[in-house]
Amino acid sequence: MRVFLFVPCFVDQLFPNVAVSTLKVLQHLGCEVLFPGDQTCCGQPAYNSGYFDEARLMAMHQINSFMPNSPTRNHYSTSLGKTESEFDLKRDYAVGPSGSCVAMIRNFYPGLLETDQRYSQVAAEFATRTFELTEFINNVVGVEKFSGKLNAIVSFHDSCHGLRELGIKDGPRNILRRIDGLKLVELPYNEVCCGFGGTFSVKFPEISVAMADEKLKNFSQTKADILVSTDTSCLMHLQGRAKREGFNQRFAHIAEIMAESIS
């Protein structure tokens, strides 16, 4: 099974270990993993801020970076100087460690590009081939292929885009349950948003952190050591707030926990 890594820009730049862990886990599960080096940002911050035109160009770039030889490729793209593999829409998968960024590609690229003759078809097909890591493991690879060992008490945070845009609920929990020694304690009000919300977090910081404080209060109640999620963005926000407020629990992406459990 050939997988093209989709590494969200802020994961690439700020949390490379999440991407490294994703790579390790996928290889461990027997996938051939490639990383298209021209990918940058999926465009979600622009899209969510109302800058649809900017987001559209970024969506085109993102698709081009997975399909460097496609006729749609625009003049901006410059490859890393080596012959890159072309993403095959019939056969390959794009997998990323973020429900939010995957939702951008799956749920919003088709609409954003539907009036563009060159891209509408490929965007619609690319959307169906793009998966968030845990749903890829559950729905494509088969969760029974995964097992690990890690002694930890963890709680799971459902990211809103994973939960409501992609319908991810049991998948990550199924994976965590396959880790020997790991105890999963459910978070009270686990479907309430943590308050990150992209640019919302800096446009209305007081509201954003009030929501984080609620989440951290609920997390503390679980007495778990680690808060695990499918989305690094929620975790960055919660961890940043937790540090500021003097909490000392760990915040980890589910890929990191999986990678640790198999090493």
Binding site: V7, C9, V11, D12, Q13, L14, F15, P16, N17, A19, F35, G37, T40, C41, A46, Y47, N48, S49, G50, Y51, F52, E54, L57, M58, H61, S65, Y76, S77, T78, L80, C160, H161, R164, E165, V192, C193, G195, G197, G198, T199, F200, S201, V202, K203, F204, P205, E206, I207, S208, V209, A210, M211, A212, E214, H237, Q239, G240, R241, K243, R244
Partner: protein, 460 residues
């Protein structure tokens, strides 16, 4: 007269969010409502009902003119007088005219968001006509000289103790925060008003095109009294409330109360079919129905049309974590919460509420619970796009243009990323990230990005 304070959202919410008592009250009440809602939907098929409701509302809104004229014909046959008001001014003037012609000096009023929208009560009071809110929540808010902070539970921002204090100060009851006691006290005062009033005003949850009925859903019986105990009754509601058939109610009756309060059905459902008939002993002698547009028809035929599907249940407010932290008053509009962030700019102009569509983390919980299937958070997104397109904020445009340029050139992206990580601890970067760093720590910036690690070959 209709003052939209929503353009001051940024100042308003900052005042509310530091009020711990308010947040505690809201948190308790909304989470309880969320739990009851979830419980009440366990025994019915929410998705099936929602699909039906969405279909009926879509049909209603896309045939609005036709259904309204059907409604009008039948309501006239039933003996009602119909008045279309494009603006709040026209609606208020009509109601005042009815009151003056009948020498009305005291009006009992039941809950209606449209009357809040057109600021009818302050207007009538200003003309010397005492207008008393008889819904308990509305009565509390009126006593406190405030505005409702929620579509269905107007006094949700107040605790029992705060209400006991208010009653003690304003109507001289003893200090006792038992809800039963407080309700009985309000009833004592309001019964007097019902007995001496000479006009009633109500809203309507649904207008039935095939029968000309106005349907009111409520729990306290005050709407039934307001609509039947006086000689003159005026219904004030929005033009979008019409649905085709009486039998359509079977869907909405199962959805509305569950969405709103987690009840299977409200205590009272009243169907008003015109004034008292000859053989009848009670009921009003005159019934007027004022149908308010006030910006609604401007949504017809646009991508925002589905917003008119709303049946004002308030479920999106209860689940909204933003609403839960700032409360309804922060929105500066009679319609707060997620649906308010749509309706306010859509009805009253985007310029009047430029921040509301952005005041959402887009978590989508509103869309998940909406009983008529409005894609609330996607509508917020499309409003954002319209606002950005019309806005002239040069700095923001510059930033987004440069962000786009960076993301379209992988080389530039790599360089910018390296610089950002290198200088992450510098005072300048920290200052630029003030909106983040004033409230949260930044993560430890790694020395290498993933792509640098990947390219160096040390991952394989």
């Amino acid at each position: 007269m209709t003052e939209i304070e929503a353009r001051h959202f940024k100042e308003l919410y900052k005042k509310q969010i530091v009020n711990d008592q308010l947040r505690a009250n809201l948190s308790k009440a909304t989470l309880q409502a969320v739990d009851s809602r979830g419980e009440s939907f366990k025994e019915v098929d929410f998705e099936f009902l929602r699909k039906q409701a969405k279909m009926i509302r879509e049909e209603s809104v896309s045939h609005l003119n036709q259904l309204l004229s059907q409604f009008e014909d039948h309501a006239r046959e039933n003996g009602c007088k119909i008045f279309y008001a494009e603006t709040p001014e026209k609606a208020r003037a009509y109601v005042l005219d009815v009151a003056m012609k009948n020498n009305v000096n005291l009006i009992v009023k039941s809950k209606s968001m449209v009357t809040e929208e057109i600021e009818l009560v302050p207007f009538l009071s200003g003309k010397g006509i005492e207008t008393v809110e008889t819904d308990l929540g509305e009565y509390i808010v009126q006593l406190a000289k405030e505005k409702p902070s929620h579509i269905t539970t107007p006094a949700i921002h107040k605790s029992r103790t705060e209400i006991a204090q208010l009653f003690h100060d304003k109507i001289g009851t003893e200090m006792n925060n038992d809800p039963k006691f407080l309700t009985a006290e309000a009833r004592r005062v309001l019964r007097e008003k019902f007995l001496s009033a000479n006009m009633g005003i109500s809203g309507a949850n649904f207008l039935i095109a095939e029968t000309g009925d106005a349907v009111i859903v409520e729990n306290e019986g005050n709407a039934r009294l307001s609509t039947s105990s006086t000689d003159i009754h005026v219904v004030v509601t929005g033009i979008e409330k019409v649905i085709p058939k009486f039998s359509d109610l079977r869907i909405f009756m199962r959805l509305l109360a569950r969405s709103s309060t987690g009840q299977k059905l409200t205590s009272y459902v009243s169907v008003l079919r015109g004034p008292r008939r000859e053989e009848e002993k009670d009921g009003p002698r005159e019934v007027h129905i004022v149908l308010v547009d006030n910006g609604r028809s401007s949504l017809l035929g646009t991508e925002h049309q589905e917003v008119l599907n709303c049946i004002r249940c308030g479920a999106c407010l209860n689940v909204c974590p933003v609403y839960r932290n700032i409360g309804g008053h922060a929105y500066g509009s009679v319609y707060p919460g997620p649906i308010g962030s749509l309706v306010t700019p859509m009805y009253f102009g985007e310029k009047n509420a430029p921040d509301l569509p952005f005041a959402s983390s887009l978590c989508g919980n509103c869309t998940e619970v909406c009983p008529v299937g409005i894609e609330i958070h996607h509508q917020l997104l499309s409003l954002r796009n319209e606002i950005v397109a019309a806005k002239k904020s040069r700095i923001e445009r510059f930033l987004f243009k440069n962000y786009r340029k960076t993301m379209l050139r992988p080389g530039r992206y790599r360089m910018m990323g390296r610089f950002a990580r290198m200088f992450s601890k510098s005072a300048l970067v920290r200052r630029m990230m003030k909106q983040w760093t004033d409230y949260r720590d930044l993560p430890e910036f790694p020395s290498q990005s993933f792509r640098e690690m990947y390219k160096s070959g040390k991952l394989n």
